[in-house]
Symmetry: D2
Subunit: 337 residues, 4 copies
């Protein structure tokens, strides 16, 4: 089978190699991937900045959808032909996160899915909803589940609440669609008027170009009668956090999801205490959350926004496209033909 791997860090180092198809042991299944999707995390894993001590060679990527082609002894959950999606944090099935259950994630430390076949434990998958293609299903494991967790597990929202979203990457667009389906009001910021216009077609109620309105928290305040938003999904990190904190209402919430612009945050304690905000770190989610997410997607026939699709052999180009920041929605790889 074809497998991408790196033996040193860098997108240029990605090489397509041939490996034998593995066989599932007891309690395991063999999945033939039909599509994968990329996340920002994959970029910093491949370039070595996220986990410098990552053992090489390594096959990257966390998100994949495909079909079961073989099952090991004792497997009852699946049979060959079942359409499935990989669950990112394989060991986190239910309940609150713990050091034990958050240990094993696909695409580091576990081998990634940028390959034709993987063997996974039977509990490491969820069913692909009937209304979704493999390509669409492959976009969900990290970005959609992160959005779900931030909105509905930690978000404390109800119809009429206002949510602030940053940028038009995978997490923000899933959050936009899910928030819209939940009757929440959405405000989204981006540096591109064109992207903002597309966000409106997905249900965004208000849009702000943060390039032309750098002090965008004031605009947000105005749009919320001075109150501020109930929830921010902060993707930007240092570049956005200060404005995010100014945009959130007293007693509101900030989901800390990303660090696109760096990792060292300046937090003004007095301002933080004045907002009485709650900040949560969000790390994707459990399989139980994933099942609830799928139920919501099915209920609303929601379709992920795919920016562009690449073939398996074009994987390096897919990485470069994501790195360019030009995308609107998810970057996908088609593996089957």
């Amino acid at each position: 089978m074809k497998t991408w791997q790196i033996t040193r860090f860098g997108i240029d180092a990605l090489e397509l190699v041939e490996r034998p198809v593995p066989a599932p042991g007891p309690g395991e299944v063999l999945v033939r991937w039909r599509a994968q999707s990329l996340n920002y995390r994959d970029l910093i894993i491949v370039d070595g900045s996220y986990i410098p001590q990552l053992p090489l060679p390594f096959t990257p990527l966390s998100d994949g959808a495909g079909e079961i082609t073989a099952v090991g002894a004792g497997v009852t959950a699946w049979k060959p032909g079942d359409r499935v999606i990989g669950h990112y944090i394989q060991s986190w099935l239910d309940g609150a996160p713990t050091p034990e259950n958050t240990r094993l994630s696909l695409g580091a430390p576990l081998p990634g899915v940028l390959t034709e076949y993987s063997v996974l434990p039977e509990h490491g998958l969820v069913p692909l909803p009937a209304h979704l293609t493999f390509e669409e299903g492959a976009t969900l494991p990290i970005a959609a589940l992160t959005a779900w967790n931030a909105l509905f597990i930690h978000g404390d929202v109800a119809p009429g609440s206002t949510v602030l979203l940053e940028g038009t990457g995978g997490v923000s667009l899933f959050a936009l669609q899910l928030a819209h389906a939940a009757g929440l009001r959405t405000i989204i910021i981006s540096s591109s008027d064109e992207k903002l216009a597309r966000a409106r077609t997905l249900g965004a109620d208000e849009t702000i170009n943060y390039r032309t309105v750098p002090a965008w928290s004031r605009r947000v305040r105005k749009l919320t009668n001075g109150a501020g938003v109930d929830l921010v999904l902060d993707i930007g990190g240092p570049a956005t956090f200060t404005e995010a904190l100014r945009a959130v209402r007293l007693g509101g919430r900030i989901a800390v999801i990303g660090f696109l612009s760096g990792t060292a945050l300046e937090l003004d304690t007095i301002e933080f205490m004045r907002t009485l905000a709650t900040m949560h770190g969000i790390r994707v989610g459990s399989r139980a959350m994933f099942r609830d997410l799928l139920r919501a997607l099915e209920r609303h026939r929601l379709k992920p926004v795919i920016d562009r699709e690449f073939s398996l052999t074009e994987a390096p180009a897919a990485f470069r496209h994501l790195a360019s920041g030009a995308h609107f929605g998810k970057v996908v790889i088609r593996t089957g033909e």
Copy 2:
């Protein structure tokens, strides 16, 4: 001013009398009611079955909307001309219910609003949203707030959750509209196919005629792939509770709201423990909840379903219409002309 009162129990005993317009004291406002709405509670107050020891004469009704016509000393929240809705449990402003804060409700023990003018404390009102008429605003205080409380305070729902609603009275229809706006899946039961058809136009996903399908919990199970619903708003009491308990999913919730069919419930403990359900009694809600409800109504431009409007002088006919059970939505009285 014209005021309806009873000096003995019974709809026949309602009499229209003339009273002087009261004057607001410090911290109080004078409201000129423009519309009122009826609840099942008003029926059993007027017929004496709910509070046999109610001191007479008594002016009934809990729900009203109108405008401020005068303010007492020290009032800062309102000025003459402001459009307002009365808050049912006047003393419950925020937080959890307590014996102290749930004591004072309009329409017993406090005098009701079936009159042209009332004096209320300034905190006993909320603003009428701009997109609603007085008639529409008058439908909200009990029925809409009860639905909000059951769904979003006690309901533990997220997009994709399924909610079961009973009948097409005020609470159930508000719950239907709010649940639909929140991306929840709704199943509604009624004895009338015609009412069920109208419920579909309001967003009901599934409908069941409980007259033709008496064991409707089985139908509900089928519609939820055997799982059962996440939440039931039980209005019926004894007549519906056993089926409701069979319709709820393991770990689901039952909001106990009404007792249309009586008050003595037979609860099978083993069945209750098998479902691991949570049962809550719901008593309308606080003013803080009312404000959140209004924000959601504004966000979605939701319009209450008014079954029929009567003039102030036709009040007894309005009571009889509600008692007939023929209504679909709220029964309203127009007070101003």
Copy 3:
């Protein structure tokens, strides 16, 4: 190995048979039980009233502690010699209860632990705290975890809250000790002044003999300045529920745990709604909760209350002793010598 089983229902039908010691498969461990404890559930399983269709022959009992004597392939959590306690609902590891994760419990439908050895999956056990003997550890799986779940998962209590406990069986005494350790105020009822005196030595703040004070809810109200208690752990079912509902404060909670006196509950809907209480069914708990319970027991060096110990060959006498209702705390079987 020695194993108790029934081939027909009834304590008289318990027979001690010889069976080969089983061997652990991949992911499994062999436990040599050193002690077991009985629960009310075991009585109604053995007499056939709880699960009439139980396949026979059947080995009863859910609670056991012992040591690992062998581990199967791939087991990393345990090694021979480790002191362990069985986890009652083997499949419920974490998160909320679901139909899937609450399916497999020891002592029905899974074979019970009234035997010298059992094979269990490696996740089906928790470590026995160092300060506890096997006999003490064997009392925990159902009774202590039920008390923990009712108090700290569903109970919504804080220091100064008042908890009402019924009787002096395992759940109530564990709840008494845990509540006392958590700074809660406890009121316990019993039909025996002698048992109540012993409850005081375990930390009970107030005691009521429900035989001499049948309308004990009034006494509870007096002891709480008229407010009522924050939480009731209702063990009695029909015989106690009505008083329990009268004893709980407005907005308080009732954990529905048992049905010692029958299963058909009369619930007055109006009274239920007046209290605005929340009723939860409690079914023991997850392994994650069990670990938190153990941490609390270790922190406070809490020792379970053992009423009486029997040897393995005296098992039927242990059942009869529990059935007599004379016990104060847990009835234990010593299996090892």
Copy 4:
């Protein structure tokens, strides 16, 4: 009556002036203060660093206890002679904090209580528990309520949870006593071995001198078997936050309470997301929380730790003593004789 005020910023600027005793209006009461206590907040208000635009002259201090000496028209909650404590955020009675209900606090923006008499609305007070003196009651409004809020409203703790406390000021010592009463395990850090020894007599389970162990998070990890603590009450701000974040368990909580060492926090986003911690800003609490706190204090007969008492005329010395940082517990002023 005697009143302290500042007409310019600085402890030196405090001057004792004579003012007429005010009279309560409708719904108001006159309180004769018998004791007050100081908080760090008072220091930075008097020195002008917290609210530079504070209108002068201004009477500082937020915490006081005393007795009702007169009541205005319509007051039903109190009568002359009642022993009371002032509620710090006068307008926050119940529910979640909002811009409206957190506006009016004693000691800025409202006039403070460093005076012999104040007029307050009748809802701006709570009853002084019988087991407490005026001096003890005066220590509660800010420090004890902040500790309660952080532990039991936002803390998500259960018996056996571990709480980390910083220093031996009012909040930390109240948290120590309350956590101990709740069966929590406590770890406290201080720069003084003598203070740590005294903390042990109040129930501290573990103590760390952060001067001799600057990287104290490692010690905390060791004391918790590598897991980290469940909750940190961070008082220190920048000087302690980084270690606090390293000391908290995965999924744990950090209550952000103070900024003794400055206001600009460096937050490493990746480290924050690795802990999946939740950070809350805590601003004292509502009157409903205050009542729950009082109930717990009464239940456990808890006595506040008073460091030192000053007479009313010695107020500037009390400020200087607090500023020195030498205190262990609360600094109190006795007003009556």
